[in-house]
């Protein structure tokens, strides 16, 4: 990924919500680069800031949210750099959907129940200056075929006539309608059944290969991230604590939280497993702990962790981590993995 050009660059982004209890730090000092054709998966528990971050990227935050610091730089197809936070309403409209689209979770609620799917598509296209219905229709039908829907039938139906999986596919097609460079998927398979999830994942993989868009993929399910991502970023309490190529993150995690998540995820292909949860619960985002935000729950924590927050540092090529004890975490992970692989061998023999 290193040599490829950067499509979306986020630098030092912080977002707070104003609540009755005070300022809630939902995203703090997040930086990352999204390259052309790359899929970045954000993993983490609920309340870790994944969704806020993405709403921030699209500038879809509610009124009580404030982007305190940071910069979002988008590079369009002509190579021109656009500062997303400085866009006025009109260019922002153009940016959304035709440059950067979002596929929301919960397909049930994202489609207008009282209009036909076709009208939704015409309206979208119309709002972005595509008035030739014939062309729009052709494009939509082609996309429907790509997401493995029966094009004619779906095009002329109401959302309630479609199943959850079909609606999710309509949303994906709708997101891709204006050929955006970046697509943000917010838990696109969460509410779906296993077999439907599988076919959506396959559709996404094929589409990505065919159309070459970059995507940011939010998921709380590690397995889905393992399936689809090129790069994985772990978020905890509004910060990216570790980011790297998918294999590095899954096989050589260096942050105690990432390791904890891995150890808490059951795998089907392994026989009997010993899993461990992470003690405690995520911190209150209004009153954040000092130092490393994870130190209260961290089995590796030392005195420094309680006072000084660790900075993101390069651990290996493309792999950054914010943890003082990253080498111990790495060793521990290897140890645990070797135990689980012997369990696997024992089962196979």
């Amino acid at each position: 990924m290193a040599g490829k050009e950067v499509v979306l660059s986020v630098q030092d982004l912080s977002i707070t919500y104003l609540t009755r209890r005070g300022r809630l730090q939902a995203v703090s000092h997040v930086s990352f680069d999204l390259h052309r054709g790359e899929t970045l998966a954000l993993i983490g528990e609920s309340g870790c800031g994944k969704s806020t971050l993405n709403f921030g990227l699209m500038r879809l935050l509610p009124k009580n949210a404030n982007t305190d610091t940071g910069k979002i730089v988008y590079t369009d197809r002509a190579g021109q750099k656009i500062d997303v936070l400085a866009l006025n309403t009109r260019s922002l409209r153009k940016f959304r959907w035709s440059e950067c689209a979002m596929v929301f979770q919960g397909a049930q609620n994202s489609l207008n129940p009282v209009i036909h799917v076709r009208d939704m598509i015409y309206d979208t296209a119309n709002a972005h200056g595509l008035n030739n219905r014939g062309e729009v229709r052709e494009r939509a039908l082609e996309l429907f075929r790509k997401v493995r829907l029966d094009p004619e039938r779906v095009f002329n139906s109401y959302p309630h006539e479609l199943s959850g999986g079909m609606r999710q596919r309509v949303l994906i097609a709708l997101g891709l309608l204006l050929n955006p460079q970046v697509v943000i998927f917010d838990e696109p398979t969460t509410a779906l059944d296993i077999l439907t999830q599988r076919s959506i994942l396959n559709v996404l993989r094929d589409l990505k290969e065919e159309l070459g868009f970059s995507s940011i993929f939010i998921s709380h399910d590690l397995a889905v991230a393992a399936e689809i991502a090129d790069t994985v970023a772990t978020m905890y309490a509004g910060e990216i604590v570790e980011m790297g190529p998918v294999n590095d993150i899954f096989y050589e995690p260096r942050h105690a939280y990432t390791l904890g998540l891995m150890e808490a995820s059951p795998r089907l292909s392994v026989g009997r497993e010993e899993l461990d949860g992470i003690p405690g619960s995520p911190p209150d985002l209004v009153e954040l702990p000092t130092g490393c935000k994870f130190h209260i729950r961290c089995p590796f924590a030392i005195e420094t962790c309680k006072t000084t927050p660790p900075q993101l540092e390069q651990a290996s090529i493309g792999h950054i981590v914010a943890c003082y004890k990253s080498s111990e975490v790495l060793e521990k992970g290897k140890e645990l993995r070797s135990v689980s692989s012997t369990a696997r061998v024992a089962r196979l023999s």
Partner: protein
């Protein structure tokens, strides 16, 4: 295990719900037995009848036809006392910890009601001691901090522990955990399951674990059994390692091959069983014969679409499967002619 008297047994249970004038058959011919201290997982996709089965087991829903036996005796037509006894022995933990606790009562009150209702405590001191004890059992410590709190002051994981504590407070013999951890974060899930496992080991409580997540079922019920449900019927049942390691029914095979794994190399090498159709048939219009036949890649025309397959033993290990080509020794093979992409 088979010689033992089952704690609860469903025999040919059917259940339908009415919607307007149509009858929706949600459960058809379910026969399941849960033995004391056993873990049974019900897995399947949404709408397959897992929750309905669980609710019928604990008596929250009545069966439309068939029999439900508690310790060999029908649950209906019992006297008041016996009924209360049966109700007490079978408890359920619901999915949503935000909806299943009364927001205007403190945790102490919530845990106190069932104890008083079933006359398990005789005075206030005893009630207090019992509540303290239960909260400690489910790792909600120190209990003194918890009892006077309201549900909204607790996190999702803590609330679910309160739900478990409430189910546990009346010394049940069976707990039905209906997607009890699916709304809880990954990091907290495992410790909740461990609590449930410890309780089972300590008190010999049978657990019926309802989930759509097979990996979680595998972890929780390694020593138990898994029943796979599809459109209101059990299609395969057997010991967990058997079902996960060598699934027999085409639907189970498809499910297991479709689940992504938290391991990038393994998951990307996985070969998915291609289905003939992605659409789940509606319960109002269940296909004739085997309900899975319109999607099954091993579909045998003239066999699968004619007769409803019954659960039959497949091997000597107690694995049972409802698939005619399998149980009649025809074997499974993908027929290219019928496989529409």
């Amino acid at each position: 295990m088979t010689t033992q008297q089952p704690l609860i047994e469903l025999r040919h249970v059917h259940r339908h719900f009415k919607k307007g004038r149509t009858d929706i058959p949600v459960l058809q011919d379910i026969s399941l037995a849960v033995h004391p201290g056993e873990i049974l997982c019900l897995v399947g996709e949404s709408g397959c009848g897992k929750t309905t089965t669980g609710k019928i087991m604990v008596g929250l829903l009545a069966e439309s036809s068939g029999e439900v036996l508690y310790e060999g005796q029908p649950i209906h037509g019992r006297g008041r006392k016996e009924k209360s006894e049966y109700r007490r022995s079978l408890q359920i933990v619901h999915q949503d910890p935000f909806a299943s606790l009364n927001p205007s009562h403190t945790i102490g009150q919530i845990l106190g009601y069932p104890l008083k209702r079933h006359h398990l405590v005789s005075n206030r001191a005893e009630l207090r001691r019992r509540i303290w004890e239960i909260l400690t059992l489910v790792d909600l410590t120190p209990p003194g901090d918890i009892v006077n709190k309201y549900p909204h002051q607790l996190s999702g994981g803590q609330r679910q522990r309160v739900s478990i504590a409430r189910a546990l407070s009346v010394n049940p013999r069976l707990i039905v955990a209906d997607e009890a951890v699916s709304m809880v974060d990954v990091s907290i899930r495992i410790s909740l399951l461990k609590t449930l496992q410890n309780l089972r080991d300590r008190f010999g409580i049978a657990v019926v674990f309802i989930t759509h997540d097979l990996a979680l079922a595998k972890y929780f019920a390694w020593e138990g059994r898994v029943a796979v449900m599809y459109l209101g019927r059990v299609v395969e049942i057997g010991s967990t390692p058997e079902i996960i390691g060598s699934p027999s029914h085409p639907y189970t095979k498809a499910l297991i091959s479709a689940i992504p794994e938290a391991d990038p190399i393994v998951t990307r090498r996985k070969e998915t069983l291609p289905l003939r159709s992605d659409d789940i048939p509606s319960l109002i219009n269940i296909p004739a014969g085997c309900a899975f036949h319109p999607r099954c890649p091993f579909f045998v025309p003239g066999v699968c679409d004619q007769e409803v397959p019954a659960l039959e033993p497949l091997n000597g290990y107690g694995q049972e499967v409802a698939c005619i080509p399998l149980t009649q020794g025809m074997g499974l093979s993908i027929r290219e002619s019928t496989a529409a992409s």
